[in-house]
Symmetry: C2
Subunit: 706 residues, 2 copies
């Protein structure tokens, strides 16, 4: 439904412009000017009381236009927008692009005004883009209806394979300027502004369908429909179109800035990052990095397995590049014998390894042979099986032209990613021009180079991820029977209740029972078998051990009785009378290692399972990984391996290793348990999960149910 | 001694050029050409068989020159360099600058050739710069004796306050190109090459003394004289001249690249980082970052306490900037009431907080007032007490000129650092030109902006560090008496021996004694008092508990006897007969928290003390800080606070806090102990140091003594 409408917008054959004027410094005048200047072949209908605008016949209102209009562009004062949209809807315009601002981004009054627009439009079947947006472009139709400073700067609209949908018009213009500066074009660019009606996801869908688009860049401040985003991302990647995303509002300050900008609330960044990792969406911090990665992918191709080969004319530049690559986690390849033999034609025996030093080639070869020597050496290095990608670091250097020409030829033919790092500022401006003419990305810092290489690696991972198969399992009837009544309020349920639910879901919990006095505790301990643990059961107490409410490793009847009395005494000191219900008597679970497995309902992305190793230190170290649930067994182990404390699971310093197969299974089942409860499970902690070989048991747990 | 010689080199009035020719693409010809072209007023004596070189009278050899020569420049084939240097030395030339390469960087033969040069020169009192270097420049004398591509590109040598000494000529040229591109000049630049004689430190000293230099940038591959580097860094910072450093060879690959480049070995990066932190040297990864920070400091001034204020025309750009600043650890200030009142003249009430959105100013004010509004708003924000620095993020935007003009005016007058981030690529080229004309730094990414702000913050810290007072204490006679005989070989000494030395140094160790059998163990335990710990004493066993060689919390005589037998049985299973000497019986030390305090002799920087919290996990987490010893009490606490697990010391989750004063004292005394042993203490581990309130005790320790 939306898709067909958006295709009509993006391929509009007629556009009416409310606010069109002869003054091209005004929004409406500027838009009309850009549209004509960039060579669009469609029909433009300026709407103005004058007879002519920019030399073209003007109309008093949209009703006076004698032909159907695909798209109306609205750049009028805020109090007239509602009327204009009504007029447009009356004559069956497909969509209104609202440039005017002062809506949701300007507080509550503005939000009300914006809601009124949506009402007017949706009642009559017209779609809205904006308000507070900067327009759109479809370069393959020379359709540049975008009033950004970039559109003003360029007098044509180079087309290319990169599609952009952005909540910020300025950042769309920024990406456009960066891509044109590198001689690479966009397919489409859409600034969606406040997303009163049509949103980023609608244009995301369009770009997936658009045959001119090979890679998609999204800038989002508010993720309006996370479920749809997930679906579209999977669809796009399955179709071989990588998805890159910048999401603003990571910090509190950034979220505040976003709020004042488009009236939207930021989601939780960690959950988003986990979802992106799961789907293969490449999540980035900056739009320039995003467009750089997209440009690298369309110009130099997909990531190859292997290390990154450095070439440079400067020993120092090479050393710093190796340091930067190593710090960013890239391997530094060792060249094979046949590559060394090929290099041996041009380099002395002392210089047959990386970094390839073209300064050495220059002193080793006569000037007339040097260009050939550089080219053949670069190509020999890139042909080595151990080499997955290359970078050339250009400091201020001799023989620069021979080098950049060899880089261009190598990048175009080697079939592996090749990144050109020009660190020579204006001294290297001729190289910049040459790279631009060759439509190859140029970056100016090692940081950018490693970011681009990292992005290419992530894209490769995305395109080779297995198809996702995990589905939300149905809620088990025996678990459902234990849920508190559904009244919308969150309730913290006790350890005993939580464990009963876990047991009903088939998860491993210790043998246990509640004791109201020392006699009962003694009887239960004998039933369970020694050693046991006693834990206070008292409403509102979460950190039980901090108040003296826990006694462990009780091996005798008398120890159990003494512990119960001591806990009761602690309760008398610290709690209200009657707050203590009794003590949970529990089998003492052996454990070489302790895990925390938690779950949280994220308002945007649903159930998030958190896994960490190491007991109480987890909270200090933030050494956790997030798995959006449901997930498959295959997803769990790579996440565990990303934990700093992962070695504790594999037999650290002579300790017994954990049965990883069983552990993965337990984490999956906890994920299914949490996912099956959906939004009812607000928070859940299994902490610690104690593991001793293949013995896995949830020693303590709590939950907040809604 | 060196200083006067280097002053004569840098202010040379006459230069002889071996290898001078009419072909300016050759090294000697190029050097002569640059020197003339950049307007140097001194005398140039080309040395060549021809009568004239580049139109100037040439000489057959240096002896034929009728005047004294300050500096001889040597750009001749490698096999002639020795002879040339001999000639120069014979006539009393102060120094030879050797451009020729193929010395230490080219393997062992080259190293031998290089050593011969040094012999020839030092025997006759001539100093050498290089070989394998690119030359030097003193811009205040238009003295550009540097054949880099940068010198070729520019036909003049802008002077400025930034001094550079670099082991890499290409990277010096790269920094020079970057600074001139920003309209900021250097004072001096020296490429030292292989440092056969004169080294980076010599020119570092010169730059400290040079009144034209306000800030010093060093690029080093091999730290030739670390002690001198330390002294000079302290002297420079004390004189108010910040020191920035890039040290290549951090990674294994980078170190390899360094080695092949100048025949030098890389030191340990972590020790260097600790030394830099201690002295206030700003250690960086990249030379462009280094020169950017230097330019920011000379152009916008010293860091102010407070948060970083963001201004931009783009809501999205502002949000991403806030995210980037937050992630880099900068605070985002809240504007005070008077600032909001000042902003209220230009902005609507919804937009009186940061980021300052000039897009909103544009829609809120008539165009003719806008430039004034932007300028006053920027100034008002920067005058706020909560604001310590500012950045303007320029996306592709309307009213760009009004904005960059306001930024220039604000940066020049506000007295706080201001960074201009131009993200608009070629669309923003007019802004780049304006910034250059104003001699203000422009960066193109948020990453660079936060790096520059971080550098300014570090420079401010350096310039306000207290004067260092710690000195290496003398070796205590009672400790010295316990040292093994000095035969140059490293010896691992036992726990008992190590603790005896610690006790002699007045450090807290548990009561303990060695038992050869169970009876003796029982007797000692009764003397010490229960509970005790038994630990195997066996040569070559370091991880005692992994082999069953430790028994803790022994509370009775029979438990001690049983434990001894069990350890002896473990020794029988795991060790050679006779390897077990007995068991150490030791007072059981209480501990709420465990620390590791180690020391290591670093071949470059001497004694390094390593501190970490958390027992065995320390090794997995690498959560340690390094303190170069000796150090003062004042240095210890800030380092402890940089540990991720620092909260464990201050009473985490209801635990008893550690007596930090006592702890700092103990760490200091361990530092003094290690420093007093100097190079004889190769390695030392106090692990764990157990702490319970103000009770601190080194429960286990080992050392490697030479």
């Amino acid at each position: 439904m939306s898709l067909a409408q958006i295709q009509r917008i993006m391929n509009a054959r007629s556009v009416a412009i409310y606010g069109a004027s002869d003054d091209i410094s005004k929004w409406g005048g500027g838009l009309m000017h850009q549209l004509r200047r960039h060579g669009w072949q469609g029909k433009i209908f300026p709407i103005n009381r004058k007879e002519f605008v920019q030399g073209q016949k003007a109309y008093l209102d949209i009703g006076s236009i004698p032909e159907p209009v695909d798209l109306a562009c609205v750049a009028v004062p805020v109090d007239q927008v509602g009327r204009v949209i009504g007029e447009c809807a009356d004559v069956g315009v497909a969509a209104c692009l609202i440039i005017s601002s002062n809506f949701a981004e300007a507080g509550e009054d503005g939000l009300r005004r914006q809601e009124e627009l949506v009402e007017i439009a949706s009642a009559r079947g017209t779609r809205l883009l904006g308000p507070n947006c900067m327009g759109l472009m479809n370069t393959h139709a020379q359709f540049n209806l975008c009033n950004s400073a970039s559109s003003e700067y360029y007098d044509h609209t180079p087309s290319g394979p990169i599609g952009i949908a952005s909540q910020s018009g300025a950042l769309m213009g920024t990406m456009l300027a960066r891509s044109y500066t590198c001689g690479i074009g966009l397919s489409s660019g859409i600034s969606v502004g406040n997303q009163a009606d049509l949103e980023v996801a609608d244009f995301f869908e369009y770009l997936i369908d658009d045959e001119n688009t090979r890679i998609i860049c999204l800038y989002i401040e508010e993720m309006r429909s996370p479920e749809r985003f997930r679906e579209l991302a999977q669809r796009s990647i399955a179709a071989g179109k990588p998805v890159l995303l910048v999401k603003a509002g990571r910090s509190e300050g950034g979220a505040h800035a976003v709020q004042s900008h488009t009236g939207s609330l930021a989601g939780t960044h960690e959950s988003l990052a986990a979802v992106c990792h799961q789907l293969g969406v490449v999540l980035l911090d900056d739009v320039i990095d995003m467009i750089d990665i997209a440009m690298a992918w369309v110009s130099v191709g997909d990531w190859s397995e292997g290390g990154v080969a450095v070439a440079t004319a400067s020993g120092g530049g090479g050393a710093l590049a190796m340091d930067a690559l190593d710090a960013a986690g890239f391997s530094l390849p060792t060249l094979g014998a046949s590559t060394q033999a090929a290099l041996g034609r041009w380099a002395p025996p002392t210089h047959l390894q990386l970094p390839l030093d073209v300064g050495v080639l220059a002193s080793h070869n006569p000037p007339r042979d040097l260009p050939q020597g550089i080219l053949e050496s670069l190509k020999a290095v890139m042909a080595d099986d151990a080499v997955g990608a290359g970078i050339y670091v250009m400091t201020t250097q001799k023989n620069a032209q021979a080098c950049w020409e060899a880089v261009i030829e190598t990048a175009k033919t080697c079939g592996k990613p090749y990144v050109f790092v020009n660190q020579s500022s204006e001294v290297g401006s001729a190289a910049s021009r040459a790279m631009r003419e060759a439509s190859l990305l140029e970056v100016t810092s090692l940081t950018s180079a490693t970011t681009v290489l990292g992005g290419l690696r992530d894209i490769h991972r995305a395109l080779t991820l297995p198809q996702r198969t995990a589905a939300v399992p149905p809620l088990d009837a025996s678990v459902a029977a234990l849920l508190p009544a559904e009244d919308g309020e969150p309730v913290t349920i006790s350890e005993a209740e939580t464990k009963a639910m876990l047991a009903a879901a088939g998860l491993p919990v210790p043998r246990q029972a509640m004791a109201r006095d020392a006699d009962e505790a003694s009887r239960i301990a004998q039933e369970i078998g020694f050693p046991v643990v006693l834990k206070i059961d008292a409403t509102g107490v979460t950190h039980k051990s901090d108040m003296g409410g826990v006694a462990v490793n009780l091996t005798t009847d008398s120890a159990v009785r003494a512990a119960f009395k001591s806990i009761a005494a602690a309760a008398e000191r610290h709690l209200q009378p009657g707050q203590m219900q009794g003590c949970l008597v529990q089998q003492m679970v052996p454990g070489d290692v302790e895990l925390i497995v938690g779950a949280r309902w994220d308002a945007q992305f649903g159930t998030m399972v958190v896994v960490g190793v190491g007991g109480t230190l987890v909270e200090l170290l933030h050494d956790v990984q997030i798995l959006p649930a449901p997930f498959t067994r295959e997803e769990v182990l790579p996440q565990l391996q990303r934990l700093k404390l992962y070695p504790l699971l594999t037999g650290y310093r002579g300790a017994r290793p954990v049965d990883l197969d069983r552990l993965v299974d337990t984490v999956c089942r906890i994920g299914d348990f949490a996912a099956s409860l959906g939004p009812r499970l607000l928070e859940f902690d299994a902490n610690p999960v104690r593991i001793s070989g293949s013995n896995i048991c949830i020693a303590d747990a709590r939950a907040v149910i809604r």
